[in-house]
């Protein structure tokens, strides 16, 4: 566990970057620091591995004051992922990943073997090992950045806006990949971002900071959306809080009706469309096992009759969800939604599931 106890960072010119910050970062979970620029989120992150030293207060890592630890030693035990990846341009990918093992004095063979293992773990083609960073796309470089941070298997991972320099499609696949990795590795992750949607998607806990480095609210993402502490947090969360909250409710709970005759299906039982006067009209589907209530509502809105089509993992019709069934659930959760047992539609596809199209293209994965 990482603890901030009354931590303040004041620069010589009098600017206060972080103001009396006290919070706990739980072990094995993702804690996101989010806020506008100038809120001290990156400064707070960098005080953990002492790239910046606090002016007053204490930061402890598993009970030990970080200021008692020699900075390079401390840093080798904490993974760090920086914006733009920060890869060493003059080193091959495999050696970039093996940076910390080399610093720790592992022998070259062992360090490289570990690097190769991680390369695959973050979804990259092992053939990239001998390339230089400039030969990789931005998204691939960022994956290498994550692999490098994990190389010496540190229990703590600090991530400083790691996905903000890549395009939205790649960003989404990197986020999914991180959630997948985290479900296997259970690291203590501190993640800094200015993007509240990213914070809500990735965070088990979200700490919203305001300009001047003060903690505005710290809560699970669902609680944050339901009960923002004040106008600043409400404003920062932006529009559509009600709808975004639905992402935290599993569509499993939606009452399904048998598919009516108006729904045309093919010989495999996959939906083709709603029979209307002239022909087939559009429809929307959701998978109650994998998707959230938000996806179900979206599917309902895509159909002219307001009825969402429920399908199984193979796309075969299981039934339909009428608006009344959805409304019942909206009513049931009006007062608040449970924090996720990890999100539903955000859940990255499992090994058997379909991968997002950009995933394959981006990672150059050799057949999944």
């Amino acid at each position: 566990m990482i603890t901030f106890e009354g931590v303040t960072k004041r620069y010589r010119d009098g600017t206060v970057a972080v103001d009396d910050l006290s919070l706990e970062v739980p072990t094995g979970a993702v804690t996101v620091f989010v806020g506008p620029s100038g809120c001290g989120k990156t400064t707070s992150l960098r005080m953990i591995n002492r790239m910046i030293d606090a002016t007053s207060g204490r930061i402890t890592l598993d009970g030990r004051d970080v200021r008692e630890i020699d900075p390079p030693t401390l840093r080798r035990g904490i993974g760090y992922v920086i914006q733009q990846a920060g890869l060493f341009p003059h080193r091959k990918i495999v050696d970039n990943i093996a940076t910390v093992p080399y610093l720790l004095g592992w022998d070259k063979k062992k360090a490289r073997a570990r690097a190769m293992e991680l390369l695959e773990r973050v979804g990259l083609d092992p053939a990239l090992a001998g390339r230089y960073p400039f030969q990789l796309s931005g998204g691939q470089q960022q994956r290498v950045g994550v692999a490098r941070a994990l190389a010496a298997d540190p229990p703590v991972l600090l991530m400083d806006e790691p996905f903000s320099a890549v395009d939205p499609v790649v960003r989404a696949s990197l986020q999914d990949e991180l959630l997948r990795l985290q479900s296997e590795l259970r690291k203590t992750i501190v993640f800094v971002t200015h993007d509240i949607d990213e914070a809500i998607k990735l965070g088990d806990t979200v700490a919203v900071l305001r300009v001047g480095g003060r903690l505005a609210q710290m809560a699970g993402p669902a609680t944050l959306l339901t009960e923002p502490a004040d106008d600043f947090v409400r404003g920062f969360l932006g529009r559509d809080r009600g709808i975004r909250r639905l992402s935290f409710i599993s569509a499993k709970e939606v009452r399904l009706d048998p598919a009516p005759g108006e729904l045309a299906v093919d010989e495999d039982g996959r939906p083709l469309g709603w029979r209307t006067g002239g022909g087939l009209s559009s429809f929307g589907t959701f998978d109650p096992e994998a998707d959230s209530l938000r996806a179900a509502l979206d599917a309902a809105l895509l159909s002219p009759n307001g009825t969402a089509v429920a399908v199984d993992g193979d796309g075969r019709v299981r039934g339909v969800a009428r608006r009344e069934a959805l409304d019942e659930l909206f009513g049931a959760y009006a007062d608040g939604v449970p924090e996720r047992a990890r999100g539903f539609h955000e859940q990255p596809p499992g090994p058997g599931g379909e991968s997002p199209p950009e995933g394959g293209a981006e990672t150059g994965r050799a057949g999944s």
């Binding site: 790239m51 030693t73 920060g86 341009p89």
Partner: protein, 224 residues
């Protein structure tokens, strides 16, 4: 003039390696020493000075200004200053040329080190590099392409500048110019020019090759 050919090959053959201090091969060797020594010395001095200028930014402006003033001084002036100290020796040529090399190499080292992207430097810190190791394994290697570019300029200009030393009898191949001029005999002049150009082209080629071999990672980045 009066039917004299531009190049008299027999003169070259007789004077290539006749054991005389004015033999062409001896002059060539002297030229090499006087051209490369300043570049090597310059690099040895420019590395720590450049590092200091990056570490303490306030140092850079005065250092650069001083070097530029030196660079703007005619080499003849510098030669005559050192003539009174070191006499008619090669040292009198090597010292001013070292200053000229420094004027090119210090900015090259500084630019090279500042060309290290901030996110790369910071990630090196965050990985747990200590300062000396970070400099040696991350920052200096990344500075190599820029430093080598400066080294090419310094080397080629040093090769050409050595000839001015002929005025004190220490000009390497430049001595051939004086010789030819005094005797109104063109062969030594042509030989001197040709060898100096060849030397410059060869040295530059070696450095380009070295850059290719040392920094395979930088090739495509320039076009990117």
């Amino acid at each position: 003039m009066n039917g004299e050919p531009l190049v008299r090959w027999d003169w070259i053959a007789r004077n290539w390696a006749n054991g005389d201090p004015s033999a062409i091969s001896t002059l060539l060797l002297g030229h090499l020493v006087m051209a490369f020594l300043p570049v090597v010395l310059g690099l040895v001095v420019a590395l720590p000075l450049g590092l200091a200028c990056v570490r303490w930014r306030w140092l850079y402006q005065p250092t650069a200004a001083l070097m530029n003033v030196t660079y703007s001084l005619p080499s003849l002036v510098l030669f005559s200053i050192f003539l009174s100290i070191t006499g008619l020796t090669r040292t009198t040529v090597v010292i001013p040329l070292t200053f000229f090399a420094l004027a090119v190499l210090i900015p090259a080292v500084v630019d090279g080190l500042t060309s290290v992207p901030d996110h790369v430097r910071q990630s090196a810190v965050a990985m747990g590099f200590r300062p000396a190791r970070r400099l040696l394994l991350v920052e200096l290697p990344i500075a190599v392409p820029v430093v080598l570019a400066g080294l090419r300029v310094a080397t080629v200009s040093s090769i050409s500048l050595v000839s001015v030393g002929a005025l004190i009898g220490q000009g390497g191949l430049g001595n051939l110019f004086i010789d030819g001029w005094q005797r109104q005999f063109y062969t030594p002049i042509v030989v001197g020019i040709a060898l100096i150009v060849l030397l410059a082209v060869a040295a530059d080629g070696v450095l380009v090759l070295a850059q290719r071999l040392l920094t395979p990672w930088s090739r495509a980045r320039r076009t990117a």
